[in-house]
Symmetry: D2
Subunit: 343 residues, 4 copies
């Protein structure tokens, strides 16, 4: 098992989770600009790997592993994956292979569309009652979802699949700063983010917008309009997605909760809270659980669902490990926990 | 000038602002359970008042002042105000006199409706082109708005007043913890809130929901449906309200920005950011400014407006001082600043 | 295995760690005032225990377990332990049995001294070259150290044991807020602690002062003067202890580092950082590792050691599990990790 | 009045304070790499300056102002000041002119020593009973102290001046992240600093060490050994300095407090807290006040003093404005406040 991009946040989280995975041996850990440095300089929390040195992210370093995780900037995965052979399980935490529509890729990311891989959101309900999980069994290329799309899609999919709401959704999602990665930009300095919240990518310009729409269309069986606003909050990890849509049916909270319970009660990582409880991101930190609650606002005529997750875990690296388990026919929960590190 | 409720956050902020006000002399500072304690035990940042002792919140302590600010728990203002005489300017930072509809009061707060006072949101555009400010001139009773309604109402009012959007809005507002007051509750402990975001009052159950609807109806000239979700974020101060509504007209961002500029450019405390800039709560901290931006999301068919404010300043105590200035015919900006303490 | 005090922070962390322990089955989970409530209302992060209800903290609830962890307010452990039988392994996370000197107990805690139990700091070097660990093998009563004493004692003990420094130490330790527990006090509100640091218990009045002195005396073989100042920092978890003492020998940093390496390199949870690296609490969060660095300041004539730990993990609950492993003759690292959850 | 370095944190704070100063008109605002950008892109909180554009930091831009504040990286002040003429009041917030000893400069900063200017710590007690203030009256060149030296020096000077303690001090000071400036470095990212504390510059290697020693020597009348450890805490602003020294006299807390009260009660910005109260940085934010408390730890044989300040205000920009007032013979408190923005 190798991790490319091991000096970043997603790479570090992959290694953290893989260190606890009983079926995995950690091989190459590679980086781009940080190649040659001790891993400990960038990931001091990974004590058992304190003597590792970051190799260069190149096919020759990654070759010879059964599983290769890519945690690279956008646009770097395709070329590397092409060199890794079809039998290697390549799991891409980047965006390169998430979108199926070349026009969406072109519009939101620019450059040539690399194609699409099986999409790593196992729990997503599909039209017809199956799950996205089925596409991942035995797969050797998997595109891990974006952190926001995981929360927003799982929060809204059951309602759309059941026809409870109009395909016209509003998502406002608060995120911790690790979602923006580790490259040092002035607006991500601690001095700037502590004590302050800010919106960005407003008006549908965030790259996760088409990915949310793509997922919801798959669940709804029809195109879904998505108004998405991400908000940066002063915390390192965590996404809290507040999602709503106009009611399309006469339902109350009890009925809606039953739909969600039917959809998710068998899912080991999706945790519908008891009625009256609302998710906090803190309870999910470090875990692969997504916490969820849903209600009906009769006055506003809307269903409101709120999902919390750890953006680096269930939102990225945990999902990647979960997908690996499925692809390799291991028990899906192997090496993953629903227990958060709180408070 | 007297402040009742001086040991709480709103009371402390009132005193902070009044210490900088050139036309004000600070008389009685009172509290409920904290009466008898040194003010410094609760407000150590108010160095010039370090030798003050908290008196009891009772009419005899407040009598004899031209202006009395009330920063009390809900339900305590009516009886106190009744004892203060009609010539005293009483400015209530609580909710008791905000709602005009007794049924709304009954539903959201319970108990008897105390009535309504002139509503202290000076900049709110009214049908016909006037402002809420006019009602405040010479008033001797003023109800200061809730912190969320200030942000949400000012963010959406110009669009509704101009008929740009349908009267069916979604507001998701992130708030710092001081909005929940100073009474020690387990979920407000630093250990709980740091590193975590959580939604609460979801589904229209938060008490500020009818207040937002009331304000927007006044601007729109018609009833407005409001879906409101507050989110608690790990910061002491600040509200960032992400507000959207379906477009009712063919407009682009430029046109919408012009409507907002026309509405607010003459307002000293409302700061429409340059195109492309989005508000951060950090830039407003300690100031009486509300920062605002608006855009059109053509794909989603929605107008999105984001407002940032300091919930204790423009959201409460700053608004109270601004209203005092208007009521007393002082220049509206006296003693107030648009300069935030950042970072 | 039972946990008494399961609604608090130490109790929650015990359960988090025990859920990952392969040799443990979680039996009774009890509380005082919160008895009868769902565990999930207080520990929403412990998803696998979401259906548990808090029993009452009473001997009959705790009876029948091989191991009982006590995470109670001071003064409650003695009576409870007396009812549990000598063959039950009772591990007390409270202070009741830490101090050996009744006068120290009386002075710092008041009330009658309950006695002392084997002290659960396995790595502490004792005069003669043994470790505190030896006293824990087969023990059936163990007193888990305070969070500050763990960091301060391990940071300074090798230098004192080797005679490198005078027995006259200064410790200034920054702590997250969970160290103060979960009872809601105004000064622990998020609004108060975020964005602010404060000293407390200054001048040797903090209860951990005599415990640090007791530990260091055991390592030094002589009485040690301790100046200890705790500082509350705006973070939920983590202790960073900056410890120094006057040099008693002509040594340089290399020599001092060798003494520490000799003392700790075989210890699985003590991580002496590479030269030039300094600990961050973030790298230890959720783990049982203590990160350490030491240097010589020749100008000031002092040795300076800095230790970082997670106050709830290695500082409390992790130490408790580590002690359980030793007492039960399990491999000491069973169920414990050195991998932090960062960032 | 001009500010060079107006896109950084110190520059922004200078402008914030100067906007509130009744005797000042803000002229040129300049920057290095950010020249040409709107000031609002870097200082969105300075609403009244929202239409300003950053000029280039060059003598021709700064010429023609009576007062020029320099908030530049180390090493840039000397050349610029040389071009500004002897009648211009130049106040340097950088380190270039703080140290009087060329060897110390060489050792801690490297490069050629530019010399020293009158040192801008007005309240510092000098041997003989005078204050550092006297040197600043009418001065036209002033070196503003470093943020740590302000807190540590004022915390210890009265005890040293009165001979209460040995000239052998230990300072451990917790700081917010703005002290590290605005240049984006990975370890200053919000993701890294939130939830974590870390020591740096341990062992006397921090550049403020010789500056503290220089100040204390001036108060003590003898050389003072300084062990200084800075700690980075997860907050934007604030320094909390815990300072101690061995007692040299038989004194108790009451006697020590009297010495401090005598030293500081007449100082408008130094606030000795009532006995039993300890400083929090939160209470000082945005203000020019330094809060202070002192006690005797008889067991440890040490005096312990704790000081809190806002590192950007009293620690940098507020001190600069205070010095300007003195130099220009304005009332020293003009435009400055002791009221913090809390919580």
């Amino acid at each position: 098992m190798a991790v490319a991009g091991a000096s970043g946040y997603a790479g570090g989280e992959l290694l953290r989770l893989l260190l606890a995975h009983p079926e995995v041996e950690i091989g190459a850990v590679t980086a781009g600009g940080n190649a040659g440095a001790p891993l400990a300089a960038h990931q001091p929390h990974l004590v058992p790997l304190a003597d590792r040195v970051l190799a260069d992210t190149a096919a020759e370093q990654l070759a010879g592993h059964d599983v290769v995780f890519l945690a690279l900037p956008h646009g770097h995965s395709a070329a590397l994956a092409a060199e890794l052979g079809p039998d290697v399980l390549v799991i891409d935490c980047g965006a390169d292979f998430r979108l199926t529509d070349p026009d969406s890729w072109q519009r939101y990311y620019g450059g040539e569309h690399a194609g699409s891989w099986p999409y790593g959101l196992p729990e997503l309900p599909l039209v017809g009652g199956t799950r996205q999980r089925d596409e991942l069994r035995g797969a050797r290329r998997i595109a891990v979802p974006g952190c926001y799309p995981t929360a927003a899609s799982l929060a809204l999919a059951p309602a759309l699949a059941a026809g409870l709401v109009e395909p016209d959704v509003v998502v406002v999602a608060v995120s911790g700063t690790t979602g923006a990665g580790r490259s040092p930009k002035p607006h991500l300095l601690g001095s700037e983010v502590m004590g302050s919240a800010s919106a960005y990518g407003v008006g549908g310009t965030h790259r996760h917008t088409p990915e949310i729409a793509q997922n919801l269309a798959v669940s709804a069986g029809t195109a879904v309009r998505v108004s998405f606003t991400p908000v940066l909050a002063p915390m390192p990890r965590g996404i809290l997605a507040t999602c709503s849509a106009p009611l399309a049916a006469e339902v109350d909270t009890t009925a809606v909760r039953k739909v969600y319970a039917d959809a998710y009660d068998a899912e080991p990582f999706l945790h519908l809270l008891p009625e009256g409880g609302w998710p906090t991101t803190g309870a999910t930190l470090g875990s692969n659980a997504l916490h969820l609650q849903v209600t009906v606002d009769a006055d506003a005529g809307r269903l409101v669902a709120v999902a919390a997750e750890d953006n680096l875990a269930k939102g990225t690296a945990g999902a990647a490990v979960q997908c690996m388990n499925i692809a390799l026919d291991l028990p899906e929960t192997t090496g993953l926990s629903t227990v958060g590190v709180a408070p």
